[in-house]
Subunit: 263 residues, 2 copies
DNA sequence: ACCTGAACACCGTTCAAGT
DNA sequence: ACCTGAACACCGTTCAAGT
């Protein structure tokens, strides 16, 4: 094990914790008006920026040490002077995305809606960076963006009178759920794209229809419910399903908070 | 695109649906007493069996077309006569795991506990096959095992008087959550292993401690809650956190069911 | 200190050739 | 029909050598 090359690292324990309590100087990317000289100096920011751009444009799968290096007009080995490994790069990219979430001041009148809004924003950001959720679920989130999000969620829970322990665990729970939804969507999109190379558009309706009629075709004696509820199972788009999930989670949060002793 | 080589496939639509409505003949693996002849004939079952064993022993990461082929004493190309691609192999392995979940007859007295029990079983199985959750979250689940699980969940919801649409979406929701928890755990285990190559045991306490003290060190003005609740945030082991999630989800299910019109 | 080319040990998949 | 060796186009990471 070698020491981390980036100065802002924390390795007092087994984990590498990404420490970056302030957002990067600019919003990201070379400042406007800055000319692209043929060979600019490498830096963590430049690397993260190009990775982010690549992800936005072509999805997480297209982001590799090699592709990022190529976009920077160099070889993959050069990146390792600024970033410990792919994992750290992923972590930094993800955190940059998380920093884009807008977190309002907690309002006791609508703290539950504020929680939902935050997660809707997160899902939107995931969608704008196809596959990013894939990466997030492979990481222990530290870093400014993640901490900021957690702080926000905690503040909304406080505003709602949620006991601390419940609030703490709920942060994890709802973040995990949102990430998982994004991952699931990514898969569907990939499947649809893989299947529909001829057509430009992914045909989700055809996929739903296919699954529904498959469920309907299941043997009624073994699968009485699945076969009769096939259409109900496949009902609704991603939006409706996500909203359903948010409702269940927030309703559950309230119920559990009411039971728990206020700690 | 070539047609699927396996007879039991369904490609009427964009998706490849794995159709296997009855479990494989044996419980899995060559029957006891069957001698291992140097070069047995390949088959889907043999391939899935060896992949499953490999996953159980060394985790999902160790399961590649090449490693499975090697374990079968052949080259990776040989597998493609029986399995369309890695994706189909994953799907079949996952489904074999899902088939191991025990699904009792629905009991209106304790339908909610039955739901929780099923998910506890699922998490245990994920843990016994490290990384399997990773694979499951990359798949659109069809196949016998998945259908059986969904049927079970639906039957419990019915027993609890949950409206159909709510039940259908809830199946997805709680399965997604359980898979996500398993994925998250996998990551922690991997991190711990990567960090603690010297020691045999993964030192989760040290990781918790590290994270907790990192959170405590956050600037209080920006992160008043995170810094003061650091210990609460890192409280509890995987078990407690999962149980919390199950409670929130089931409580939420009841609340949402009460609101919704009984369809 | 930073960067590089070349190499190492892997992937999934394809394809022409064998039996 | 089933299996195979060899190849293709990728990975992440390392390392000695350059500047």
């Amino acid at each position: 094990m070698k020491e981390p090359r980036t100065s802002k690292s924390w390795q007092a324990g087994p984990l590498r914790i990404q420490v970056e309590v302030a957002p990067p100087a600019g919003v990201g990317g070379p400042r406007a008006g800055e000319r692209e000289r043929p060979r600019e100096r490498l830096s963590v920011d430049r690397i993260v920026d190009t990775a982010l751009k690549l992800m936005r444009a072509e999805g997480y799968e297209a982001v590799s040490m090699r592709s990022v290096a190529k976009a920077l007009d160099t070889g993959p080995a050069s990146l390792y002077a600024h970033v410990a490994n792919k994992d750290e790069l992923d972590q930094r990219v993800i955190d940059r995305i998380a920093q884009q979430v807008d977190i309002p001041v907690a309002d006791p009148e609508r703290w539950d809606e504020q929680i939902k809004d935050m997660m809707r924003q997160a899902l939107t950001l995931y969608r704008e960076h196809p596959g990013s959720a894939r990466a997030i679920m492979g990481l222990v989130p530290t870093g400014y963006g993640s901490m900021r999000s957690a702080e926000g969620l905690l503040s909304f829970c406080r505003a709602g009178g949620v006991p601390d322990q419940v609030a703490a665990w709920f942060c994890d729970l709802i973040s995990l759920y949102t990430g998982a939804v994004a991952v699931e969507e990514t898969i569907w999109v990939q499947r649809a794209q893989a299947a529909g190379l001829k057509g430009e558009q992914a045909d989700f309706e055809a996929m739903d229809e296919q699954i529904a009629s498959y469920m309907e075709s299941l043997p009624v004696d073994q699968f009485p419910l699945m076969s009769s509820l096939a259409r109900v199972m496949t009902n609704g788009d991603g939006e409706q399903r996500f909203e359903f999930g948010l409702s269940v989670l927030v309703a559950g949060l309230k119920a559990v908070s009411a039971e728990a002793p206020t700690s």
